[in-house]
Subunit: 265 residues, 4 copies
């Protein structure tokens, strides 16, 4: 397994290269106190980047859709306090301008991997793109989505496997561990694993997070919440602080056995 993917600079952090990075945070930014508490905790435990939804794509139009622009100031405040870069999903090409000074990388979510109008627009932006695999995209289609970015001029790409849709209903998605191994062999890009969406169950997240690291992933994108039972979205798959802390205790030992290290700030 090579651990020499092309490093991508996201704000003050590096994704790729030889180290393993943890991007953690809530599914949605819900309030200043919720995001501040989460950000400071995950940083203390070793995360080198923050995640958090602003504009949420929800299947049900009556579900919580994210705070949107209201959360911009929250994010800026917390980022400057904790000193970590921030990635968030972009769902509309018209939001790019406004989000430019909030995010350090744009996330293309699973439902938008095939949104080529959005990809073409992001190809012209001078920020890294975290490209999630579509939940029903073949490996090849995922690579072709990356080609949209590359051909448009943006090769600061971070891939993210987050599980695919199969006949299995016991888990929200089927995390495709094969795709992690294949992406490491066939592309120069760093590959993150999202075990939160990949399983849809907090109790399975640590095992699959460790598995992804063992398969060669360059890091995690993982949902952590101060109080998962009362999260406004995806609480069932978010880790609470003690569980995240335990995982962050195991990870360095596992990486060491694989001749890797956790990224430091």
């Amino acid at each position: 397994m090579k651990h020499n993917s092309k490093p991508v600079k996201v704000g003050s952090s590096i994704v790729g290269g030889s180290a393993f990075t943890i991007w953690a945070g809530p599914c949605s930014v819900e309030s200043l106190s919720q995001f501040r508490e989460t950000a400071s905790q995950v940083k203390k435990l070793g995360a080198t980047g923050l995640r958090g939804g602003l504009f949420k794509l929800r299947t049900d139009p009556t579900a919580f859709q994210g705070l949107g622009r209201e959360a911009f100031e929250i994010v800026k405040t917390v980022k400057s306090e904790v000193g970590l870069p921030f990635v968030s999903e972009i769902t509309d090409p018209r939001e790019i301008g406004d989000m430019l000074d909030v995010v350090d990388a744009f996330q293309v979510g699973s439902r938008n991997m095939h949104n080529y109008a959005l990809l073409k627009e992001l190809a012209g932006v001078d920020k890294p793109i975290l490209l999630k695999r579509g939940f029903s995209a073949t490996f090849k289609e995922w690579m072709l989505a990356a080609d949209y970015l590359i051909k448009g001029g943006n090769d600061q790409i971070i891939l993210c496997e987050r599980g695919i849709r199969t006949f299995e209903t016991a888990t929200r998605n089927t995390f495709d561990i094969n795709a992690i191994a294949m992406a490491k062999l066939e592309t120069p890009f760093p590959v993150l694993a999202d075990p939160s969406h990949g399983t849809g169950q907090a109790r399975l997240v640590p095992a699959v997070a460790l598995a992804a690291a063992a398969a060669g992933a360059d890091g995690l994108l993982i949902e952590v919440h101060p109080d998962p039972a009362h999260a406004l979205s995806d609480g069932y798959q978010s880790l609470d602080f003690p569980t995240f802390a335990k995982l962050m205790g195991q990870m360095p030992k596992l990486l060491h056995a694989l001749d890797r290290d956790m990224a430091a700030l």
Copy 2:
């Protein structure tokens, strides 16, 4: 099987109600002569609406992406010559304004069914929306996508089943005939079948088109091309004129057996 879906007016044509409508045309509008020839032929053979791609969503960024705005005048010319309404796919919320005087209905393609930013924008438009099912969307998710339009103020919805992604590789997609029957039972909206994408093989299109009618569909969205072997996109699943003519000869007999009629202009 009820044949009393809520009629939706698309330009001068009606979709839904008791009659069965055929929307036909090329995958992509390629040139004035190609679109003119196709439009006049399919009208002569009984189609009451035209389809044709302007902005194509292609998985491969090097594939033909449609003529885009260059085709607007072609479409306007042909529409006025043959006197049929026109539906085409919208792939970017910023194109709505420009397309308003070209299309009589906006098509939300399979890859964009989960593009809620686009759905929210289309909910404010005073044109019917042809809502294709996402190729990996559950029936329930399809209905929730329709809810985005309804809650936003647009209930001029036409559903379109176009096949789903399964393990089967012998066909491009698996046409979900069950979904046709279920949509007729559970929604008030007209339901079209797209046997072209649903099979991905011209030789299978007529059989599946007849099947969809027998299952209760309100019409077809079907790819027809003067010379499928030289089409710029999707030629393998486009019917040539003789094959389309044969299908259009069989359809009224089948519909009559089901106590239905073909729509007339």
Copy 3:
């Protein structure tokens, strides 16, 4: 669509050729009165063959497993009374000898399509084989399962599409209408449709049955029960007599529109 598949003689009935045949009966043979009543009703309504489970393959070991050998006399009695041939599933190569004088054709069920030990044994039997497609078998694998029979010496094969497993959970299976059309083009064998398993919902069965006929199927294998709500297995997908009667009233008109007829005894 060709309607000239190789006719296969099943007892006193023919499957294939130009006519369309209906094989109907309960999921499981439950009692003499239940099977007698069902058999006489479906015959009166136009069925030319009987179906009924003896040895049931149930996913849950605590579910009703069929009457097994106890039902042999019931079946023989009813067959002679109503004068229709009978098909039933074989689940164990060691049951072949005992079932030889009870069934007129052996059904290989969906879960056993890949049971090559069973196929090899059935290849040496002088009875037709109704080969259901595995619920996750590709079209090609289905054809290769037929090859096991042919190479072993038995080409009295009737294919049966019964739905495949996909991500869709709104229906029990996704009935693969494309596979009906493809089997008609690529094989010489008669092709039956099983809309009962293909949908898993009685309310969807008639529409999908008509669709299968329109796509070119040579007949139906369909579950009918005197009292579906109290059936010992699969009641939710069984038609009651009035619904079956209505379907049998529509079918001849549909077939006539397709230049076909219902099979007569």
Copy 4:
């Protein structure tokens, strides 16, 4: 992750408990020299059990079907020489008697997980059963298949995840790493991973093998061949000796980081 699954004794080896076991060998036993060489090599490198196909279930009836009974003496000879237990697939209930003194555990292959006639017969056998998950079986169906064995009197069960069938065609199967984690949480049985079938590509096997260990699996069932390019079956997914040796060098370090050890003889 608990590592306290119920230990199952297979010949002279233990599967389950706290240690991690490697079962290795060729897809098919091809000859005395091939099996002897493989067996002695994998033992030297740390395997504590042998695998090898005798009766092969092949989708294509013209493909190599295994040596069958001819291989019995080969296996007995090699087992006594190297002193390792042996597991092989049983495909027909009538073979049980003959295989009893050849195998130390019966493997139920993926295509037979739904073969309840076979499961019922194996429930009465006093040997452990290695129960592979059906390639399209839900987690729940897998557990119900185990129930067939338990209710029939045999609770010496070893589960084995070997990949599921999905829309993804870049790999032979999609290895379901979630199912490893879930099986460890929900059952008392040892869980093996088969990364050979789970990926279908030798180049991906080591990464997925390590991942399975990190997710909590109790061991591997892995295909190793002296000369994969000339194997009579499945060579593309078999490891050669140097690649297997490298994996066996990494595994103890990884296990140690997880507070586990490799099983010793």
